[in-house]
Symmetry: C2
Subunit: 467 residues, 2 copies
């Protein structure tokens, strides 16, 4: 075995095999890094497009649809009003499955809604927190060659549940100027209000600034290519756009933890379902082997890789992703979770016999798939969890899209005169420390009118409540 911990052992398609016990901390930290993305170039290309849309609005969108999507669109055909649009023709079997998937997503995200919080921090000092929907939001659903109805309901369902009034869903038009019926179906089912026929940086700019036909939104969510990501990040920093975003997005990734009790065909199927996304997808296997005996299991894994990959129509893309992937052998649950938390995967698949023991130690991950019967693709489409998740290690500080993504929390305070008598003197002291006299005076002037002493009735009422 080579000293860098990687050996020549024959996993196919260039998948590296690494022994955790033989690598340095520095080497391990390197494995946590994703391939570098050249966002600077994407930003420099997105910049003039954003400027064009900001300047020319709908006219720019029509021009850019022609340039990038080969679609001839008139300026009054850029937006579909979803409510008044007829239900598109979709195969009944597909409609049924989209309905079932949407219903699971709706159930899980509906349960995330939080009632108003009300806390009396002191007798007479009431603090509340109210969830208020963001009025207008923009959702980006990638398109082009792919047809992605799942992203439409993943983004729109929580926005609708949150109560957003305007839910604009942008997706690139096909060359004939239409939007694929499955995406319209999913958008209508999940409650989007408008579909903007635009892709790339131009779609993000249109939603951030608004055009004649596209409403201005306050927050933009959804995955996309590097131009979409670049535009989201640039507009987030633009105080005239005054728009926020869900999170930075990078290529999709999966980390799968398995041991000798895991079915190798399931392990490989899950890793391949990630690898087929694109040549820049990341796939990491973590093989927990306390005994250190790995060869017989790895040879079964190798066979599965070869057999399953050969049958895939997207096998060339898949092999490219695999050639940048690796399997790391660790000797314990703790070592596995230490590696996983260091990497911070978007998708964490745990196919060991005791997934709950692993779950307890999860710190950095987007979504976790537990046990043999929870393949990642269930969460991608239909289990109910959201598939818009943090990538590139951003699971350290971000969660996926949720109902909260489309809400903000407004706090409220209401004080009785007795409440002000209790908390006011502390405000006066701290205002003195901070040398903010008018802050102090706002309390002092009130206490001068109502007096500083609590009545015996106030004291009694407080006693009754707090005992």
């Amino acid at each position: 075995m080579a000293t860098n911990g990687s050996n020549g052992y024959d996993l196919p398609f260039g998948i590296r095999l690494i022994e955790d016990s033989k690598i340095s901390a520095e080497k391990r930290a390197e494995l946590y890094l994703r391939p570098k993305i050249d966002l600077a170039t994407a930003k420099s290309r997105a910049e003039p497009i954003i400027a064009e849309v900001r300047q020319d609005g709908d006219a720019a969108l029509a021009r850019l649809a022609k340039r990038f999507d080969k679609a001839e669109l008139s300026q009054d055909d850029l937006v579909i009003d979803v409510a008044s649009a007829p239900w598109p023709k979709v195969e009944p079997k597909v409609a049924k499955s989209l309905d079932a998937a949407y219903e699971n997503v709706r159930r899980f995200h509906a349960a995330q809604k939080k009632p108003t919080l009300c806390v009396e921090t002191m007798p007479g000092v009431e603090c509340r927190r109210i969830a208020v929907p963001i009025e207008a939001v923009g959702l980006y659903v990638p398109g082009g060659t792919a047809v992605l109805p799942s992203t439409a309901y993943m983004l729109a369902a929580p926005a609708k549940l949150a109560g957003c009034k305007e839910i604009v869903l942008a997706t690139p038009p096909r060359a004939d100027g239409s939007i694929c019926p499955e995406v319209i179906y999913a958008a209508k089912r999940a409650g989007a209000t408008k579909i903007l026929k635009a892709g790339g940086a131009q779609a993000i700019a249109a939603m951030a600034f608004g055009t004649k036909s596209c409403p201005k939104v306050h927050k933009i969510t959804g995955p996309g290519n590097q131009y979409v990501t670049a535009a989201k990040m640039m507009l987030q920093a633009d105080d005239e756009a005054a728009v926020s975003i869900d999170m930075p997005a990078g290529p999709s990734e999966q980390l799968c933890i398995f041991d000798v009790t895991s079915d190798p065909s399931f392990v490989v199927a899950d890793l391949l379902s990630q690898a087929e996304h694109g040549p820049d997808s990341q796939v990491v296997g973590v093989f927990v082997s306390p005994s250190g005996e790995t060869q017989s299991y790895l040879s079964r894994l190798r066979e599965e890789f070869e057999q399953q990959t050969s049958k895939l129509s997207r096998r060339d893309i898949t092999k490219q992703a695999l050639s940048k992937s690796f399997v790391i052998v660790v000797n314990s649950l703790d070592a596995a979770m230490s590696f996983s938390n260091g990497y911070g995967p978007e998708h964490l698949v745990v196919q060991t016999a005791d997934p709950e023991a692993y779950l307890e130690k999860v710190v950095n991950a987007g979504s976790v798939f537990m046990g043999a019967f929870a393949p990642e693709s269930c969460g991608d489409y239909a289990s109910g969890t959201n598939h818009c998740l943090p990538t590139s290690g951003y699971a350290r500080q971000f969660g996926g899209v949720s109902t909260d993504t489309y809400l903000k929390y407004v706090t409220v305070q209401k004080l009785t005169p007795a409440g002000l008598k209790r908390v006011g003197p502390h405000v006066e002291v701290i205002a003195d420390v901070e040398e903010l006299e008018a802050h102090r005076n706002a309390v002092t002037i009130r206490l001068a009118k109502i007096g500083r002493e609590l009545s015996w009735l106030d004291k009694l009422a407080a006693l009754c409540r707090f005992c």
Copy 2:
């Protein structure tokens, strides 16, 4: 009265008086805008400082402390370990008030913690959402000439409640290299783990990248001057820093709604408590006058402005802020809330007789202060709500700092074989639509092993659970 809706009526210190019914929609939209901040210049100044800290770490911090804070600090004196630091000497009265304020903040933010959510979206398909603390966070507490212990506990208390392991609080040192005792006291009380003696862009860079003495953090929160804001926004877009921020920050602002039943001395005291923050603070009065008769009340307001302002030690700063401020007269509750929601104030004070009726219509606001006895300064210090709030209209999409600010939500799914039999076929259909064969195969390969038909026992169990 002038045709632009502004008249020469004599509110003092250049406060403009505007009649809502006499202005155009464009004019109203202009009133919603804040004075433009030159963030570009701040960014160009912050950039070399960020590069210097990234390159030279602690050595750069020591140099910059000398340059900006006139403080001589050795490289091993940049960080205070809060747990092992002794309690600083603070006046007993001050300690008591800081304790009381902290306790209210702790109570309100503790109530924000959410238990694990668990939803069975279909029989055998279990989805969970788990709150996981962000491991390491960085908090910025402005300093320099001001002493701001309140920001220390406002930022640190929710981080501690969230369960963050490393809570680094950065604040600029005084010229003698020390940190003021009240800030240390508040940081220790609220559970910060380290105090970094650094201010400005250098503090943000040190926390984003980490130095020998300052841990690298994953998220940075807190207010600050334009250089702090510029550094936060630049590092948020830097994929090597891989750090997120709470929200963009601008000058503080208040919108106060009042009517003839409001005590003019309270109205003016609240507006002044905002105006004293700085010359760039924003103060807006919204006078609800259904009758249109305003003169007698306005003359009382004028007297209060003159009397109260003359007594303030920060009256020069206050007058500068007032000269950019305005009072708008509206004829109804709806008009008042329409204006307030259009403006999206950081602080919304409602001093009318029926504040709950106004609260129902709040869409865009950071924190609301209800009635005659809830001055803004109570929320600034001690009622329990957080004082780190969205400014510059960002209340349209952001809430203030909360316990959630320091958490992320990891989703989990666990399926039984019966659960996979139920949801799997839908996954297969949608994967076909999206032409992602390996996604489909991850389900198909499992169903091939366990069969596709639900047993009568599975059907019965589902019936029992769902009926």
